[in-house]
């Protein structure tokens, strides 16, 4: 057993850490509060090749291992979790294209997405269906060489900046089981009948937009069906979410680590009753628990990522990592706020933002309760096999 990063993984970490320290952290508080889009940061990320993290070399990407992928999200989120959102769903779209796209689809879209010249996201959730994806009502009806798409999606991160969106649709609304009638269509911005609605106002996770998306008699050529075969969409989306959970877990570890770092700094320097509050055992207990939980979450995340790298089915592992990391992240953000006293509640301190950003990780890429049901199902199966 070896818990050391490889030299290359350590170099990736150092690079992203330096980038976050130099180019993200100094502007995070102000830009987040004002709701400004971090265009300059996006430009830097393009140059660094971050939009191509999961794109194979032959299409211009760097296709890093899943542990490195988790580290990229952790390091960025230490400075500003919203920035990680710009890369998150984009990278999942590229992963799906690389994994399931036809050769023509890969050649057509991956090179532009690898450099970030073209941007993407992933459109699954609808106003009436989130966890229950088989209950979506966006329909794609075949008409000659096209599909005609009608429906709406919501909470779609990066929608306004996306040049291309994989959209989960029903190509056969009567199919049984229902997922056999579900497909992913790659829909390009500018297609007639495709429009992006208003940016949704939200608690945290600012910087990147989350928006509604509408399809009204939107004509999409059959060549845009991911993989060229109907009925694969749900499975394609769900397997991408295994990577998604690693990126969410990475983000949660990053935010939790940042909470610990700030709390530690503050506790050493804040005086009460004639000494630093770090001298009080009540504060030490909190810091010790935070540090232990952050490290446990990080190791769980690397373990889940390593399972993906080994090419194993990793819904259990990635589910556990995302569940645990996001729960301890919420806890760490609250503890950091308590340690900061009244100042933690002030927008002049970063912990206020961490506290607003933390809950998202318990909701996105499968709510934690949904993941608990996935984990339990796997436990039962293993139990059945044993007995």
């Amino acid at each position: 057993m070896d818990f050391e990063l490889s030299p290359q993984q350590a170099e990736f970490r150092d690079l992203i850490r330096e980038f976050a320290r130099r180019s993200i952290a100094p502007v995070a508080r102000e830009w987040e509060l004002s709701g400004r889009y971090p265009a300059e940061i996006v430009d830097e990320m393009k140059k660094m090749g971050l939009f191509g993290v999961l794109v194979p070399d032959e299409y211009g990407g760097s296709a890093v291992d899943a542990v490195s992928y988790a580290i990229v999200f952790e390091e960025i989120s230490k400075a500003w979790m919203g920035i990680a959102g710009i890369l998150g769903s984009h990278s999942l779209a590229t992963w799906m294209l690389a994994r399931y796209g036809t050769p023509g689809q890969r050649r057509r879209w991956l090179p532009g997405l690898a450099t970030g010249e073209h941007r993407s996201g992933i459109a699954l959730t609808e106003p009436g269906a989130g966890s229950d994806l088989q209950g979506i009502s966006t329909v794609a009806r075949r008409d000659g060489a096209d599909y005609i798409v009608n429906g709406a999606k919501t909470w779609i991160t990066n929608a306004r900046h996306a040049d291309l969106l994989p959209v989960l649709v029903k190509t056969d609304a009567r199919a049984e089981p229902r997922h056999r009638g579900m497909s992913l269509l790659m829909i390009e911005a500018g297609t007639l009948g495709f429009s992006v609605g208003k940016d949704l106002d939200k608690l945290g996770y600012k910087g990147t937009e989350s928006a509604e998306v509408f399809f009204t008699d939107c004509r999409v050529p059959v060549e845009n069906l991911l993989g060229g075969e109907e009925g694969r969409g749900l499975q394609q989306a769900l397997s991408a979410l295994e990577f998604g959970r690693v990126n969410i877990a990475g983000r949660a570890v990053g935010v939790a680590q940042a909470c610990l770092d700030r709390a530690l700094d503050y506790a050493r320097q804040r005086q009460a009753f004639g000494r630093p509050i770090a001298d009080f055992q009540a504060i030490q207990l909190k810091l010790a628990d935070m540090a232990t939980e952050v490290q446990a979450a990080r190791l769980l995340t690397w373990w889940a990522a390593a399972a993906l790298d080994a090419g194993k089915r990793a819904d259990l592992e990635t589910g556990m990592a995302k569940l645990y990391a996001s729960e301890i992240c919420i806890k760490a953000s609250l503890e950091a706020m308590r340690i900061h006293g009244g100042y933690g509640y002030s927008t002049e301190y970063d912990v206020e933002r961490f506290y607003r950003d933390a809950p998202l990780m318990a909701i996105g890429e499968g709510t934690n309760d949904i993941l608990r049901t996935v984990i339990a199902r796997r436990l039962y199966r293993a139990h059945d096999e044993e007995s």
């Binding site: 290359q8 690079l15 140059k47 660094m48 191509g52 760097s62």
Partner: protein, 252 residues
């Protein structure tokens, strides 16, 4: 155009520094590529992008200084040379200069780029020593560089502006941090750097005799702490008093 950039691994400016018993800097700490050298590498890369050619990094240091070279390679430099030798432990500016000059001479570059001074030693002596040993014109404190054929033109930073200085290449320049904002490496750059050549050479390979450092550090003292400023209490004409202080200091 062949460009050599000298690079050095230094203690991390973001961590606290300590001294060894012989008053040299403790180097067992976190170490990084000298931030000043990153600017030199950036300028080298920009010149290469504009005029073609090759950027070669040369460093003198222990085995682990390879990491500093590797960082420059992941920014886009083409290859590296690491001069490493037990006899170089504690080397002073002259010995460092002799070793670097021997390695650079073998490359016959058109341009040598150095930082004005290293972050840790800050003597600023290595570049002029190199220029002398290599027989090159030196153009120092460059904040802007233009290359036209074999002609080199730099804007040389001075206390109250800049001078325009020209020379024919081959030449050596020292650059200030104002020269260029260093780029981040890319993920692909990091991957590619692993297969780029870093040649390790000893003093014997270079035909340089060790000789030992000519310099020892007798004593070290802390810099004088900044004196507290004077406080002008507002008795109704504080503004006038402040204006006078500023005028006396020739700030306004």
């Amino acid at each position: 155009m062949k460009i050599v950039v000298t690079v050095k691994q230094v203690p991390d400016p973001n961590s606290t520094q300590a001294l060894e018993s012989d008053n040299t800097l403790a180097r067992d700490k976190e170490v990084v590529l000298d931030p000043g050298d990153e600017c030199g590498i950036e300028e080298g890369l920009q010149l290469k992008e504009a005029h073609g050619g090759e950027v070669v990094l040369v460093s003198m240091g222990p085995e682990r200084a390879r990491d500093a070279i590797r960082k420059g390679l992941s920014m886009g430099a083409d290859r590296g040379i690491l001069i490493t030798d037990e006899k170089l432990a504690g080397a002073d500016a002259l010995l460092t200069g002799r070793a670097l000059a021997a390695a650079i001479k073998a490359e016959s570059p058109d341009l040598v780029i150095c930082a004005t001074e290293s972050y840790d030693g800050s003597t600023g002596m290595v570049p002029p020593i190199l220029a002398e040993l290599l027989g090159l014109p030196q153009l120092t404190f460059a904040k802007k560089v233009e290359v036209n054929g074999t002609n080199l033109k730099v804007n040389r930073q001075t206390a109250d502006g800049y001078m325009v200085v020209e020379a024919a290449m081959p030449a050596l320049i020292t650059v200030t941090a104002a020269i260029a904002e260093p780029r981040y490496a890319s993920l692909k750059g990091i991957m590619a750097a692993r297969s780029k050549e870093v040649k390790q050479v000893s003093l014997q390979d270079l035909g340089v005799d060790g000789g030992g450092p000519a310099e020892t550090i007798e004593s070290v003292a802390s810099a004088e702490t900044r004196k507290a400023g004077s406080i002008i209490e507002d008795d109704g004409n504080a503004v006038d008093q402040i204006v006078k202080v500023l005028a006396d200091a020739k700030v306004i």
